[in-house]
Amino acid sequence: MNAPRIRAPRTARPGEIVEIRTLIEHPMETGLRHDSGRTVPRDLINRMILRVNGETVLSAEFRNGTSANPYHVFFLRIERTSELDFVWTNEAGRSARGNARIVVA
């Protein structure tokens, strides 16, 4: 799997709500699509987990209706300097990781 892209601010004030954007390039093949008369094999990222300072704050399960190149935006409250650790996992158990650090001065 390709390296994910994560957009997060580098700094935040204590208690600030920050926007996080993530994108991972992936075809998200459902196994239902045909190309030139052949079925394209299923190849799906089915999990995303975000841990902040080691604690899971958001997890997601993706099914057939999630678009190729899964893209997500959400909003975190940042109280202290935060290490964001993302893991995407496909149905074969392979995973890709991404990180971001938000410093609270």
């Binding site: 709500i17 459902t30 239902l32 699509r33 902040v52 604690e55 899971t56 704050v57 958001l58 997890s59 997601a60 399960e61 993706f62 099914r63 057939n64 209706g65 999630t66 678009s67 190729a68 190149n69 899964p70 893209y71 997500h72 935006v73 959400f74 909003f75 975190l76 409250r77």
Partner: protein, 139 residues
Amino acid sequence: MIGRRAALLLAALPFGALAGDADLANAIRDQVGDGAPEERGIVLRAPATAENGGQVPITVIVDSPQTAALHVAAIHVFATRNPTPGVASFRLTPALARAEIQTRIRLAENQAIVVVAQMSDGSLRRASAEVRVAAGGCV
């Protein structure tokens, strides 16, 4: 003419639609059980017409204080007329300051998107939005 009329009658019969509705009901039950959701407290933003069914942007915002006492535990997204109804489930915690998720989904044809939210107190909410799809996404 008779053949055409018969075809039109067949097209009007609801068997296909019923199968789809059963799939949707099963998919929702698999995620949230048999509870009856209230039709309130969710804003579901989706385009009225999607040019590309493969990448339809949606925003789900649940009215929730996002405190330890009361927050959104999960947001489930379903497509009513795709070959399979499942789109995604998001499991939230109070660290998500807003119960808001933006994503992109696939829609094979014109249909309704259904969102069901599970609150931390066990209550359920539901919202839906109709989307016209100009070019269906490869699902």
